[in-house]
């Protein structure tokens, strides 16, 4: 909590300080002023070398961020990714100071060292003091970021060509500013990340899932961790120029988080995260090129967030809409089963000789109006559980069987609660109302066995036996004839 507050405070000031510079710097399309159609034509024909570099760079950063982000998310190190991306800033300035020019390799080395130093300080703080990781992360992140800002401002002020140094691009990112040397470096780092993950996939998997077990197996857990942190720092640094310090962690976390909602296997999660990362990054580059005044980093992150939103809503297993749909169909089934049960009760009360059940009696039993009952039995009819003929409703064989099953589940459960759990008979009905719809066949068998194949429930009502359920004639046969006629 502390760290978040600190963060917001810093960002507030930061935005005031650098927003004008950044917004100006972040116009990908400041190359030439043209209209939308021409921009689109230029984008898809790839005539501009700067556009080509921007797009290739975006794809590369999508790959490396997606891949390593997958590990960050499953290792619960998302905040570490955030801290790392801010901690690299002084290193960016330091790398620039090295020979006073924008040498991407010097900047990569400086920034990676700063990033690793930051993460080492976080673990040192948590190990040696009573400060917990969240506070340590907030503290280190803010300090490094502040130091980076000061260094950078000093450089920009002291150089006559300060604004051309390109250091300001590191704040919010500008894909169009990527040059040949940047793209070459990005390719090298991305290739390294892909190769390392492929080579050490099994070590990364086991250390992420169960570190203690991995160490007990004699695997080099520390080295795997340090290697991952190094790769992470390097890919954060290569992404900086396109996405910017402030938002680069989102490109690590968001595609991977979206992938986490869609799959249950790590290798699929990593593949999906890479696909989402590439998608988000190229969409960001595209819109930032087409829409003249829009910065690249935020657009990429918005693209990634859109992908996440899609996964959140429409994911087949964990998506909100899928869950809602499953709940809805379950509640529809429960409703139908309650109607079936009511028909059974009426039929049972009025004597088993009766052929069908009148809708009026059913309405009284359900304490509902005739229209409501009409809707309910129509739903049964649609699902092939009952047939309606004038004022009467008849079970189909399937409906007859299901109704007997439900009643049996209900009464068995009531009996079980009363006999075995010593719950008073008048307390058990509500619980049985819910349980009756979900009891599986094997549980029912077990209940029957434990209850000694009892024939009556605690209220003295007959429990439909297995024969009643499966070999039922009586009502069904009549109803079947009527329904067919």
């Amino acid at each position: 909590m502390v760290s978040k507050k600190q963060l917001r405070f810093i960002f507030g000031w930061l935005a005031l300080l650098i927003a004008p510079v950044a917004l100006h710097a972040a116009q990908v399309s400041d190359v030439v002023e043209t209209d939308l159609v021409e921009q689109l034509a230029r984008f898809f024909s790839m005539r501009d070398p700067s556009l080509r570099f921007a797009l290739i760079g975006s794809i590369l950063l999508g790959i490396s961020c997606g891949l390593l982000g997958g590990f960050i998310v499953v290792r619960k190190m998302a905040l570490m990714g955030d801290a790392l991306s801010h901690a690299v800033l002084p290193g960016v300035a330091g790398g620039f100071l090295w020979n006073m020019e924008k040498d991407p390799v010097a900047i990569l080395v400086g920034a990676t060292i700063a990033g690793l130093l930051g993460s080492a300080m976080v673990s040192a703080l948590t190990r040696t003091t009573r400060i917990k990781e969240d506070a340590a992360l907030g503290l280190v992140l803010a300090s490094f970021f502040a130091a980076g800002l000061c260094l950078q401002t000093m450089i920009i002020q002291n150089l006559p060509s300060g604004t051309q140094s390109g250091l300001d691009k590191f704040m919010f990112g500008q894909a169009a500013a990527l040059g040949w040397d940047d793209v070459a470096l990005m390719s090298a780092v991305t290739l390294l990340a892909v190769v390392m993950v492929a080579l050490f996939y099994k070590e990364l998997l086991v250390t992420s899932f169960d570190e203690g077990f991995a160490r007990a197996s004699g695997l080099p857990v520390r080295w795997v961790h340090h290697g991952l942190m190094l790769l992470l720092a390097m890919s954060v640094v290569i992404a900086l120029k396109a996405v910017g310090v402030v938002l680069v962690s989102a490109m690590l976390i968001t595609p991977a988080a979206a992938a986490y909602l869609l799959t249950d296997r790590l290798h699929r999660l990593l593949t999906l995260a890479v696909v989402f990362g590439v998608l988000a990054a190229s969409v960001g580059a595209f819109f930032s090129f087409v829409g003249k005044n829009l910065p690249t980093g935020p657009l990429m992150v918005l693209g990634a967030s859109t992908v996440f939103l899609g996964a959140f809503l429409f994911g087949p297993r964990y998506g909100v809409l899928s869950k809602w749909w499953a709940r809805r169909s379950r509640s529809g089934r429960t409703q139908r089963e309650n109607t079936l049960k009511a028909i059974y009760h009426v039929w049972e009360n009025e004597g088993a000789a009766l052929e069908g059940v009148s809708l009026k009696a059913l309405a009284e039993k359900r304490r509902a109006t005739l229209e409501e009952i009409g809707r309910e039995v129509n739903s049964l009819e649609r699902h092939g559980l009952a047939t309606v003929n004038g004022p009467m409703v008849y079970f189909t064989p399937a409906g007859r069987q299901r109704s007997a099953e439900i009643v049996r589940n209900h009464r068995l459960w009531e009996l079980y609660l009363t006999n075995s759990a010593n719950i008073a008979p008048d307390h058990v009905h509500d619980d049985a109302e819910n349980i009756e719809h979900v009891l599986g066949e094997d549980v029912v068998r077990e209940l029957e066995r434990r209850l000694g194949y009892a024939t009556h429930d605690p209220h003295g009502k007959a429990i439909p036996s297995v024969q009643d359920v499966h070999q039922n004639a009586g009502l069904t046969g009549e109803a079947g004839k009527r329904g067919g006629a």
């Binding site: 007990a216 004699g218 080099p220 249950d264 790590l266």
Partner: protein, 259 residues
């Protein structure tokens, strides 16, 4: 420093003067234990006695303040592939994106070493281990869909896949159903009969007496180690669980604050 690992006189596990401290506060003092092969050993003691700490320290998962541990006459780093481990079930995130087969295959990683992937033979071994704990039908299940007992069986299958000679198990019976408990006991006895050594952290005294050949009675220091019928006595249990250790723990906290 003998280099003959498997001679009968070389103990499977030898712990000498082991002391472990958390933040300078000692939690285990001067433990000496020597265990021969083919024993099923229970480690019992009250909460905070250092039971899990003991087995973690043996495997080098915690730094030792003093003492040493040898497996078959060798330090852990050279014997790692001969040692199997079942961590506490709560120590991992069961929402992790892996299925049951993936987890059991992890048992093969130590033997495979770096850069080699599990192959057909490893999958076959993993399947056999799953079969032994009656979890083969669940091989392709995502692990979050398992019950507590099933999770514990998967961990046991992973340890079996390690094909180790000595096993450490941290509370394998915690929060499992009766059927799983019986299945685990059967597997442990089978391992013991194959001549393997099994050390099990356990917190239930009545079953401890039933299940184990030997008992380690632990409460910050070794109270007793020996055959179950010899050490399961009122006097030793009173010594382990009774309130006579207040001085020791007070000294421990004093040491923790003093340094």
């Amino acid at each position: 420093m003998t280099k003959t690992p498997d001679r009968p006189q070389v103990p499977s596990l030898e712990i000498h003067d082991l002391t472990v401290a958390y933040h300078q506060k000692p939690v285990l003092w001067g433990i000496d234990i020597s265990i021969t092969s083919g024993r099923l050993v229970g480690i019992v003691g009250p909460n905070g006695a250092g039971k899990s700490t003991l087995i973690k320290a043996c495997m080098g998962l915690l730094p030792l303040s003093s003492g040493w541990v040898k497996f078959f006459g060798e330090p852990f780093s050279r014997a790692a592939t001969r040692i199997g481990y079942v961590p506490q079930r709560e120590s991992v995130d069961w929402d992790f994106p892996v299925n049951v087969m993936d987890v059991v295959l992890m048992g093969r990683y130590g033997r495979l070493g770096l850069l080699r992937r599990p192959g057909k033979a490893d999958r076959e071994i993993a399947r056999q281990c799953l079969e032994k704990v009656q979890m083969l039908p669940y091989a392709n299940r995502q692990i979050s869909n398992l019950s507590g007992g099933q999770q514990q069986r998967v961990f046991l299958a992973r340890a079996l896949a390690q094909e180790a000679d000595l096993y450490f198990m941290d509370e394998p019976f915690a929060g499992v159903d009766a059927a799983t408990e019986a299945a685990i006991v059967a597997v442990l006895r089978e391992l013991r009969d194959q001549g393997k050594t099994i050390l099990v952290v356990h917190h239930d005294l009545p079953t401890a007496r039933q299940y184990f050949d030997d008992l380690v009675l632990l409460n910050m220091r070794l109270v007793a180690y020996g055959k179950t019928e010899d050490v399961f006595t009122a006097e030793l249990l009173q010594k382990t669980y009774g309130g006579r250790l207040t001085i020791l723990s007070e000294v421990a906290s004093a040491l923790g604050t003093a340094r």
